[in-house]
């Protein structure tokens, strides 16, 4: 009986496992193999062992791109979720405008990232909309070459990412807010918990699952960010916004170093898996403690 149940389960799982194996595991294994060759992207490839990985260790571009990627992810995760939480908290307290504003906040996520980046490349240009607006409101001192300055370019790119996905984070936090037991919030109000006190003691612990989802999703998304730096800065100025994905892309399609690019993507894979699973595990541990 037990064996038949397991056989039935296996039979049901088989199609999904087959699809996953063919379209995920095989390309992954093949990619790892390719990263150990000298392939230029064609049928000719010789096994070179860990040469590409050793070359990577001596490549300052990789170290810089890894740092930019991690910094970018940190900025996006903190600011995007901070703003998302702030907006969700405000909308929760204003039921009349909640639906309308939630739709407004979600609108940027409906635009293609490439199109959004292209529009923002004009807005962030030296004579673009942002600087014109700052001039108009008398803040000329704040005008800046956002994408042309190595000290602001990465943050400008991150800002576009944050603009695009804050509404998404907000929607998840708001859903979590909406599922909070009304009696619990009423009891807290009766006990005199209001404002910041209520947020810290009641809302924040109850938002833990939403925080886990938001942080994990935004971390994965920002670690593998590609379209924004590609369109907005193409990794510049002076490599200040070079990310791992851009390096992969440039080596595979531009530099003709196909195998090296694949080796970089293996490093990206490991980085994404390690950081996202570690973060996710820590946040779940926190959930259980609350």
């Amino acid at each position: 009986m037990f064996h038949r149940r397991r056989a039935t389960m296996a039979a049901f799982l088989l199609p999904a496992i087959t699809v996953y194996g063919v379209f995920m595991l095989y390309p992954l294994a093949r990619g790892i193999y390719l990263s150990m060759t000298d392939s230029l992207g064609g049928p000719i490839a010789h096994f070179v062992g860990t040469d590409n990985y050793r070359a990577m260790a001596d490549d300052p571009k990789v170290t810089a791109a890894l740092w930019h990627t991690v910094l970018y992810a940190a900025v996006v995760v903190v600011v995007q979720n901070g703003l998302g939480l702030l907006f969700a908290s405000m909308l929760f307290r204003r039921p009349r405008v909640r639906k309308v504003l939630n739709v407004v906040l979600l609108t940027p996520t409906l635009i293609s990232p490439v199109m959004a980046a292209f529009i923002w490349s004009y807005l962030l240009a030296p004579s673009g909309g942002i600087n014109v607006l700052l001039d108009l409101v008398g803040l000329h001192g704040l005008t800046h070459v956002w994408l042309g300055d190595t000290s602001t370019a990465l943050y400008a790119v991150a800002a576009v990412n944050i603009w695009m996905f804050t509404g998404y984070s907000c929607a998840i936090f708001l859903a979590s807010y909406m599922s909070m037991p009304a009696e619990l919030l009423e009891a807290a109000a009766l006990d005199g918990a209001r404002g910041w006190r209520r947020f810290v003691s009641i809302e924040w612990p109850l938002l833990a699952p939403a925080l886990t989802v938001n942080v994990t999703l935004s971390l994965i998304g920002s670690l593998k960010v590609f379209e924004f730096p590609l369109v907005l800065t193409n990794g510049g100025p002076a490599d200040a916004t070079d990310t791992l994905t851009l390096l992969v892309y440039r080596n595979v399609f531009g530099g003709g170093k196909f195998a090296y690019g694949v080796a970089l993507s293996v490093v990206l894979l490991v980085t994404v898996v390690v950081l996202s699973s570690a973060t996710s595990s820590l946040l779940r541990l926190r959930e259980r403690r609350i």
Binding site: M24, L40, G42, P126, D149, G256, V272
Partner: protein
């Protein structure tokens, strides 16, 4: 499955997806029952903002070859084209005839994707200067379509307002003209450099005069380890800085403007007196309605004539996996004939890469064409030390220099390292 496990699976899946390259075919080629052959041609010219008379030439080809139908596919230039063709070639789905440049030809040739065209009749007519850019391992793998200039554009209306009647030919005159233009309240020069292309290209164009007029064999000497970038290329690098020191350009601003989209739009809108780009933009700029002149970068000493910088541009290659090899070779042969290629060269404002080939004249490019005819030009060594990887690296190193993040000596050292990388 636990949620932590699910996150791990999602992370793994997402990253694995980034590693898998999907080949996607486009167009069609084959033979029909009545013996008509359909030839699939892929190119980054012939559509969008650069029609380049490709449609007219294809029509003429079909007229003279009624049994061959051309299925032409235009693909956006740059990364988009490379990405699409790379995966199609890998999947055996690429066109019968594909556009290439020297860099792509070298890479695709090394992977065995390109047919050997050495025995084609036109191969013996390639100009000696251009031949090296069409070959790999002694085999001719592509038919050159053009030698195209990259240089300085001048808005003659704006120059006239500043009292200037002709495009400057040397560095001191150029600086004087920039001062006059600035005094007239006009933005002197636009060098949009967000992608890093303009900076490295001006550096190369300036070197075309300052380095190669002193030593025509500089490339060979460099490759032979007899010379280096420091001090040979110090002056071209300094020229970039001088433009800012004198207040004619703000590099931080320029690094915020896109070379390929905003740059051409701004110049066509009459926002600056001078600009730097390839001759392929002449046709588009002409539409703006003001008189324009395209000339070599005026980098030389007072009273000298500048060298033009020429780039071995587009080429036709035949896919070695093509089922229509004969038709593909016939198509390439048709393009190699002067009367057909001239239509393309006319649209591109480029020079013929063939000995005795026809180079169309145009008033906008007289200054550049004159330099070419007089032998005052240097071809960018995209087949040796200045392939796409070195070009990209040079662009970002020059950006760092222009932002004051690296010294001239360090920049030249970095450029040399990039140019020496295998």
């Amino acid at each position: 499955m636990k949620r932590s496990g699910r996150s791990l699976a999602v992370a793994t899946t997402v990253a694995a997806l980034a590693m898998s390259l999907a080949a996607c075919g486009g167009g069609s080629s084959g033979a029909s029952g009545d013996g008509t052959v359909t030839l699939h041609v892929e190119a980054w010219k012939g559509g969008g903002a650069e029609p380049a008379n490709v449609a007219e030439i294809n029509k003429a080809f079909e007229k003279t070859h009624p049994k061959i139908k051309v299925d032409f596919e235009y693909i956006t230039a740059g990364d988009t084209y490379t990405q699409k063709l790379q995966t199609e070639l890998l999947g055996g789905k690429a066109g019968d005839v594909i556009m290439a440049d020297t860099d792509k030809m070298g890479k695709w040739g090394a992977s065995g994707y390109l047919a050997d065209l050495s025995k084609e009749a036109w191969a013996s007519r390639i100009a000696p200067d251009a031949k090296q850019f069409t070959q790999a391992d002694g085999k001719t793998l592509a038919m050159p379509m053009e030698l195209i200039g990259i240089g300085m554009y001048a808005n003659m209306d704006l120059l006239k307002k500043a009292g200037i009647t002709e495009v400057p030919a040397d560095w001191p005159t150029f600086l004087k003209d920039l001062a006059k233009v600035k005094k007239a309240g006009i933005n002197p020069i636009a060098l949009p450099d967000k992608s890093g292309w303009t900076g490295e290209s001006v550096f190369q164009a300036s070197g075309s005069t300052l380095v190669y007029q002193k030593n025509k064999q500089w490339d060979a000497d460099f490759l032979g380890g007899k010379t280096g970038f420091d001090p040979d290329w110090k002056a071209p690098l300094q020229q970039l800085k001088t433009l800012e020191d004198k207040g004619y350009v703000n590099w931080k601003n320029e690094l915020g403007v896109d070379d390929w989209s905003q740059g051409p739009q701004d110049f066509s809108a009459g926002k600056s007196a001078f600009w730097y780009q390839g001759a392929w933009q002449v046709s588009n700029v002409k539409k703006a309605g003001f008189p324009v002149s395209f000339a070599p970068w005026p980098g030389g000493a007072a009273g000298t004539k500048p060298n033009g910088m020429v780039f071995s541009g587009t080429m036709w290659a035949v896919n070695s996996q093509s089922q229509q090899a004969d038709a593909a070779r016939e198509y390439v042969k048709f393009w190699s004939q002067s009367e057909n290629l001239a239509k393309y060269l006319e649209a591109e404002h480029a020079e013929s890469p063939f000995t005795g080939g026809t180079t169309p004249e145009s008033p906008e490019t007289t200054a550049f064409t004159t330099a070419f005819k007089e032998g005052r030009y240097r071809i960018m060594p995209s087949n040796t030390w200045y392939g796409s990887a070195a070009e990209t690296a040079t662009g970002s190193k020059i950006q760092a220099y222009l932002l004051g993040k690296a010294s001239a000596a360090q920049t030249l050292k970095d450029i040399q390292a990039g140019a020496s990388a295998k």
